[in-house]
Structure formats: structure tokens, C-alpha cells
């Protein structure tokens, strides 16, 4: 027992001493800005900048391979800090937020068959494109919720993801992981979204889903600034023309167009609802 403690302890001490000696002897002078840059970055290693982790981006910025505003997750604040370290002018990028371009949850769009595989959209979409009646619709298996490094996406009771716009940093990882390409990164000032991604003809979409875009063209006529166009059986908003007047929201017969960030955040109300449910369950 004693010899074991002393033996392993001695081994550890010797190795520790060797390492600390070696780190002095083989010390390599690094650019002091690299450490400062790593400190300035968020450190979540989300990879949204396209480099392997925050250290990877710091190295790329030092080499001049990446602009100082590469960190989308950190936003304006991090851009300013990184630019200050590098001694260049900060070019602030416009903030983007993830928007889920599908409103067809469990109630609105029925399943074609019962999927009993792995609880993951990517796995489900490999089997005949997923169970959802609409081939373009959200599968509701929470892959976006799982991959979000900032905990900004939660599934609601209708098996649809809800984005918390306060937590969303615009890193775009959810958009890259959605097998149906339903998540779009949209400029923060744009608040009106046509939340449908179906390229089926209007009649087909109507059969599959009660809230899909049926290509009635009412929004196109209602828009006073000509921001809405119909392309491939789907109405699309030009984010640079739209001025959030909400006339299209009123004109849409299927409620596809909506103000995604209206009034109080939907996310907060969702959490309150879940709290209420758990409390009433506890009371029962």
C-alpha cells in the first residue's frame, strides 16, 4: 500500500518535473496577440466561422486569412474587441437569426406512416424522405435542438422547433444540419416570414398541410412595395425590400405568413406553458 502510493507519487512528480523543465527549455515564443484573441472570442468552439474552434479562427485572423468580423456568434461586441487587438477598423456584420420556414406541426400536417427509428431528422429523412405528409416539411425530431450550441432552439408541443431570438447568435449550425433545409438565416430587422418551404403545386400543398403556401398570390398583390414574388410554387419575400408593414400577414388565407417575433417572444410563452403544465401535474 505505502510503496504503491510512494511509487506512483514519485512517478507523477518525476514526470511533472520533467514536463515543466521541458516546457521552459523548449519554450517557443508565440505571438502575444494570439492569446489575447483567444480571450476575446466566445470560446464555445461552435465552428460557425468555418475554422476548427476559436483557436483556429484566432490563428487565421493573425495570418490575415480571416476578416476580424468572422465570428458570427459573438456579434458586434466580439468584432470590436478582435479588431481592437489587430489594430484595424471594425466592420460590424448585420446580425442574423434562424427562422424555421415551416409551420406544419403534428396537427397541421399528418404523418404518412409511423416512424419508429432513431429520434433524429437526418436518420428519418433517409427513409422515404421522412414520415411527414409534405415532403418539404419539418420532421419534428429535434435535430436542430440537439445541435444548437447556444440552447436557443426548443421543440414545442406540436413537434415544431421554436427559436429563442434572444439566445440565437446567428451561427447557422442548425441551418447546416437540417436535412430539409428549412432553417434560413434572416437579417434581424426582417420580421415577416413566409413560413413554408413547399415547392409542390398549390392543390398538393393544400392536401398535405393546412398551413402551407397554396400559391394564391394574394400576398403578392397585397404587398405595397413589391417585395413578394412567386417562385417555383412558393411566395418569397425579398428581405431588402420588405418594410414589415404586415399587409401580407392579413391577406394570407392559410396563415402561412406571420410575424415570427410578434409581441412577447413565443419562446417565453412556451416555457411558461410548460411550467404551468408541470405545476398542474404536480398538483394532480
Amino acid at each position: 500500500m505505502l510503496s504503491a502510493i510512494i511509487g506512483l507519487g514519485a512517478l507523477g512528480c518525476i514526470f511533472g518535473a520533467m514536463l515543466s523543465l521541458a516546457s521552459k527549455k523548449f519554450h517557443v515564443q508565440l505571438d502575444p496577440r494570439e492569446e489575447a484573441l483567444i480571450g476575446a472570442l466566445p470560446g464555445t468552439n461552435c465552428g460557425a466561422c468555418g475554422f476548427p474552434g476559436c483557436q483556429g479562427m484566432a490563428k487565421a485572423v493573425l495570418k490575415g486569412e480571416a476578416p476580424t468580423n468572422s465570428c458570427t456568434a459573438g456579434g458586434a461586441e466580439v468584432t470590436q474587441r478582435v479588431s481592437a487587438i489587430m489594430g484595424v477598423e471594425a466592420v460590424i456584420k448585420e446580425k442574423e437569426i434562424a427562422v424555421i420556414m415551416c409551420k406544419g406541426g403534428r396537427k397541421e400536417a399528418k404523418d404518412r406512416f409511423r416512424y419508429a427509428g432513431i429520434h433524429d431528422c437526418k436518420a428519418a429523412s433517409m427513409i422515404a424522405g421522412g414520415a411527414k405528409s409534405c415532403g418539404y416539411g419539418c420532421l419534428g425530431l429535434a435535430t436542430c435542438e440537439t445541435v444548437c450550441p447556444y440552447d436557443a432552439i426548443k421543440m414545442d408541443g406540436n413537434a415544431l422547433p421554436v427559436v429563442d431570438e434572444k439566445k440565437c447568435t446567428g451561427c447557422g449550425i442548425c441551418a447546416a444540419n437540417c436535412p430539409k433545409f428549412l432553417i434560413k438565416m434572416i437579417r434581424e430587422p426582417n420580421q415577416i416570414h413566409i413560413r413554408c418551404n413547399s415547392l409542390d403545386k398549390g392543390a398538393v400543398t393544400r392536401k398535405n398541410c393546412s398551413v402551407g403556401c397554396i400559391v394564391c398570390k394574394k400576398c403578392e398583390k397585397a404587398c405595397p412595395v413589391g417585395a413578394i414574388t412567386i417562385r417555383d410554387n412558393l411566395a418569397v419575400i425579398d428581405p431588402f425590400k420588405c418594410d414589415n408593414c404586415r399587409k401580407c400577414v392579413a391577406s394570407c388565407p392559410t396563415d402561412t405568413i406571420e410575424n415570427y417575433y410578434s409581441g412577447e417572444p413565443r419562446f417565453a410563452s412556451l416555457i411558461e406553458k410548460q411550467l404551468d403544465e408541470s405545476q398542474s401535474n404536480a398538483a394532480a
Partner: protein, 197 residues
């Protein structure tokens, strides 16, 4: 089974083909799947493994016969070997970083990756279990590492072709890779009892 009486080429043959560390013993699978995208990358990973594994088993052999065995604390084998390997990789990394930045950049992430490679610890333990002498241990270790390099390079070559091949939708990506590795393992089973090994 390896012992001290065998000739060096029989030991090497046994380590490379008959008891291949990846395909027969199923060790080092994480790096086997992780860094086998391209032949060049897997080759440099293999070279790094040969280098680190040889050093690690030489040092663990010395630790066992001059430290743990005389002090009768053999049960600390796993703990002290992990300590040895982790320290060694750190030292080698520092040394290379100082003396040869080009080699450091070439090895890149692979050096720290090897620290957590179970094959390195596995070989260190195997040479003790087989009661091999120092020289035999070194030959055996080089053989095992060469076997690792052989299998990962072969696998990377197959994967490069798989990327081009029309794979059925449900098998694309990881599933076909696992199936391929399984078939490769079956193929290597054909070497069993080769030359009576």
C-alpha cells in the same frame, strides 16, 4: 502467441497480418474511422503512430522491469503506463515544436490524438503479458504499428473509392464505412494460423 524464441520476421508477420491490431484485436478503432478520409492523411497518422508507439513501449518496458516489478506494485500497471504515454507525447510534442516546426505542422493534431489511442496502451500491456525481452518488444511494437498503418492506409484507399461509388441512399456515410471495416476484418481473418502463428 509471441515469445522470445521466435525469429524477428515471424514476430513482425504475426503483428502485421495475423494479429492485426485494428482488424483482429479491434483496438484503435476511433482513429481508424476518424482519420481515414484520405490516403496521405492516414499515412502520416500511421507514421506518427509508429514513432510514438515504439518510444512508448520502450519506456513502459523500462518502467515495468526497473520500477514496478522490483517494488512489487504491478497492479499499478495501467495507471503508470497511461502516465508514461501522456507525458511522453507531451515531451515529444514540445521537442518537435522547438526543433522542427515543419514536422510539428505536418503531424499537427495527430500527436495529441495518439495520447488517447488505446492501441498504444494495448501494446505496452501486451509486451508485458507476453514477457518479451527489450529487443523483441521493440520489434513487436514496430510490427503492430506497421499493421495499424497498413490497415488504415488500405481502408483510406477503399474510402476514397466509396466516395465516388453509387451507394444506396440508406447506406451512405457512416453505415457503409462500418460494413467495409467489417468485411476487411473478415478478410484479415483469412491470415489466421498462417505459418502456424
Amino acid at each position: 502467441m509471441i515469445d522470445n524464441e521466435m525469429t524477428w520476421y515471424m514476430i513482425a508477420l504475426s503483428a502485421i497480418l495475423v494479429n492485426n491490431i485494428v482488424l483482429i484485436r479491434f483496438l484503435a478503432l476511433c482513429s481508424f474511422f476518424g482519420v481515414s478520409n484520405k490516403i496521405e492523411v492516414s499515412l502520416s497518422m500511421g507514421m506518427a503512430v509508429i514513432f510514438v508507439m515504439t518510444l512508448a513501449s520502450a519506456v513502459s518496458w523500462a518502467i515495468w522491469y526497473f520500477f514496478l516489478f522490483p517494488l512489487k506494485i504491478e497492479f499499478l500497471r495501467t495507471a503508470s503506463f497511461i502516465l508514461v504515454i501522456a507525458t511522453l507525447v507531451q515531451l515529444v510534442e514540445m521537442y518537435i515544436k522547438k526543433t522542427s516546426p515543419a514536422l510539428y505542422n505536418a503531424l499537427g493534431i495527430y500527436l495529441p490524438l495518439i495520447t488517447t489511442n488505446c492501441a498504444v496502451l494495448g501494446v505496452a500491456i501486451l509486451i508485458i503479458d507476453y514477457k518479451l525481452g527489450f529487443l523483441t518488444s521493440i520489434i513487436y511494437t514496430i510490427g503492430v504499428a506497421a499493421g495499424y498503418t497498413l490497415s488504415i492506409v488500405l481502408f483510406a484507399g477503399i474510402r476514397e473509392r466509396i466516395d465516388m461509388a453509387p451507394i444506396p441512399e440508406i447506406l451512405k456515410g457512416t453505415p457503409i464505412i462500418f460494413i467495409t471495416a467489417g468485411i476487411m476484418s473478415l478478410a484479415f481473418l483469412g491470415f489466421t494460423h498462417l505459418f502456424g502463428l
